[in-house]
Homo-oligomer: 422 residues x 2
Amino acid sequence: METFIGIDQMGQNAKIASRKLRMLESVQKNKLLGVMAVTLEKHKSSILAANQLDLDAARAAGLKDALLERLELNEKKFGDMVTGLKQVMELDDPVGEIDSMHINQDGLEIGSKRVPLGVIGIIYESRPNVTIDAAALCLKTGNAVILKGGSDALLTNQAIMASVKEALIDQELPDGCVQLVESTDRNLVKELLEATKYVDCIIPRGGAGLIKFVVENAKVPVIETGAGNCHIYVDEGYEIDAALEIITNAKVQRPGACNAVETVLIQKNASKALVPELVKHLTEQKVSLFLCQNALDLLDDIPASVNLATDLDWSTEYLDFKLAVRIVDTLEDALNHIDEYSTGHSEAILTHNYEHARMFLAAVDSSAVYVNASTRFTDGSQFGFGAEIGISTQKLHARGPMGLRALTSSKYVIYGDGQIRK
Amino acid sequence: METFIGIDQMGQNAKIASRKLRMLESVQKNKLLGVMAVTLEKHKSSILAANQLDLDAARAAGLKDALLERLELNEKKFGDMVTGLKQVMELDDPVGEIDSMHINQDGLEIGSKRVPLGVIGIIYESRPNVTIDAAALCLKTGNAVILKGGSDALLTNQAIMASVKEALIDQELPDGCVQLVESTDRNLVKELLEATKYVDCIIPRGGAGLIKFVVENAKVPVIETGAGNCHIYVDEGYEIDAALEIITNAKVQRPGACNAVETVLIQKNASKALVPELVKHLTEQKVSLFLCQNALDLLDDIPASVNLATDLDWSTEYLDFKLAVRIVDTLEDALNHIDEYSTGHSEAILTHNYEHARMFLAAVDSSAVYVNASTRFTDGSQFGFGAEIGISTQKLHARGPMGLRALTSSKYVIYGDGQIRK
């Protein structure tokens, strides 16, 4: 194995590569992605073999099943990686678009043009498919990328990188276009987070711990892809069946997703009929429930899986078959609860009241605010972006599901004929 | 004097105020700004008196003339503050605009709506006009703001804040809408930079030292308003007179501005005629010059104000009557020089060659790239934004001159009729 070249050298390589990448036309970038799909397939057996070694080591180290599942690359997941790559190839390239152009008082034509960000650092955990996915999205938008995957997946990621390098060589592009931090030394993450000289933006993809570490240590600008403590508020007058269907979907369809609902707020007058039904319905679906005292009081029997909620339940992102339920007097109380506990990801109101719908949409300060739909739709593919680099829960640069556009910046291009400022 | 309430309490107050501000309609926000203009005028004598005290103290402490000039509020500057406030009132409010809306495959109507950022921290130096300017821009866009001005200007800023508070009370808005860190303790800046719980964004306005401190210490997302080491490249075939006029404007009209030119690159074949004329012309304008050896060799006599440039000259933002000049063989050499030394602010090419203009616009990675115009146009008012909170030299969120839109975020508003995700 080669000696690791260090973050500073990687930064320099990436910066030089980004100069080349930002000048590429869409057709050239798409050709590269096409070749990457071919070389990825070609390296399939070595990638799956490397993944087997990573899995064996992880099992020996006692990793939990959920983590092993994330680390595992099987036939299906491998196929999805290749398909994903081809899908990114098909997307429209935002780079080069002129968002606006006008002529100013001096006759200068001033346009705002989409350009690549430059060098992007992606820090992620054990899913090896992120390696190819992030590389594809960054290259498509003309960015160089430095990848730091989970230590557990290092052999898999190195095997994937071998296929990426082959594609870069085929297209006569420098190695610096896509680089992997091939070391498990955690100090390197800190170095990457401080590489303001070379890196334009860091995107963490992973759990709350990783994101916190990145936000607290980065000097490079970060796009925070944060937690989702999502809420559904059921207003008076909304049909019980429809409410049950939406809540169940938002909780059960994929409980580990950041857009899954974690707390349901129910308007007092709706609660008497809804709470017992909701408990019955979700208990059948193996969901444990954490109810406020007023909700508990509405139950004749309290099943073993139903508990009294504490303040901690309101602030917890369960990512599991668990749901908190609270009765509120008014829409305003629901809004106050959401203001206090929401992480600003996705919230929904279920209502037939026009003013309530309008108030909820205006007052809730989250990346996605729904009327009468499941929160599970907060997702790049559902929003029509075709691909997603993550879901931003910060307010700068990008908010909500981030597609290719979130990986671009803008610059002003100004056409003059000798103007000077008076 | 009251005891200072602390950053944490200010953050809480701002957060509560921002909930109120984000629900205001444009007409209410404009009314507030109108009242602020009235109360500002009303407090004029106490503000000017406070400024006199700040100035006396600064003079006694031996502050340089340039800094005293920044600190000083005179009749003219006071009038400009009031006018500026009224101008912000007249601008279109971006909040509430729907940038795009589409119907997805499930029939959800998905719109992207402009919303306030929330709570903005502005950290600035001795210019007291920033206090009212920043407050106006933040309020206009529905943001609460925490201001930390220079210690030298504390009495002036407190007097200005008294007028702002009176306007907030008049409009029945909480104090938390606009707060001033009324302390000269520098540790409070660090606390503000770490207040991720309350503050959505920090914008530093000031010199390189301040900006570096903010970038290195902030955990809250920052919009960097950075230095401008700006370049003009004169291509072969561009008229000497027109080049002289543009370069002189870019250097001399306001040398202390971040969009002033600092290095002129001249194509070899253009240099023989241009360099002697440029030296003659700029020497008359009291500009000191730093020339590469090849440029020096073109001079018959070397005036006292002309020196041999060192590598340091290429990387220095003079902000003064100083200019570096370098002869390059080709456009590519000019692009390489700019890539190496530019801070990514503003660069211009002077050319009649179509391909060169196009290449320069595409290859230069700066916030504003010009063909045949002075770099001095990089400015919110010149770009038609009406007002400017600063010029961003980073690539995330906003790049180049930032108007009201840069003080907003977006959220997705989604209208459904019972959709669940399959």
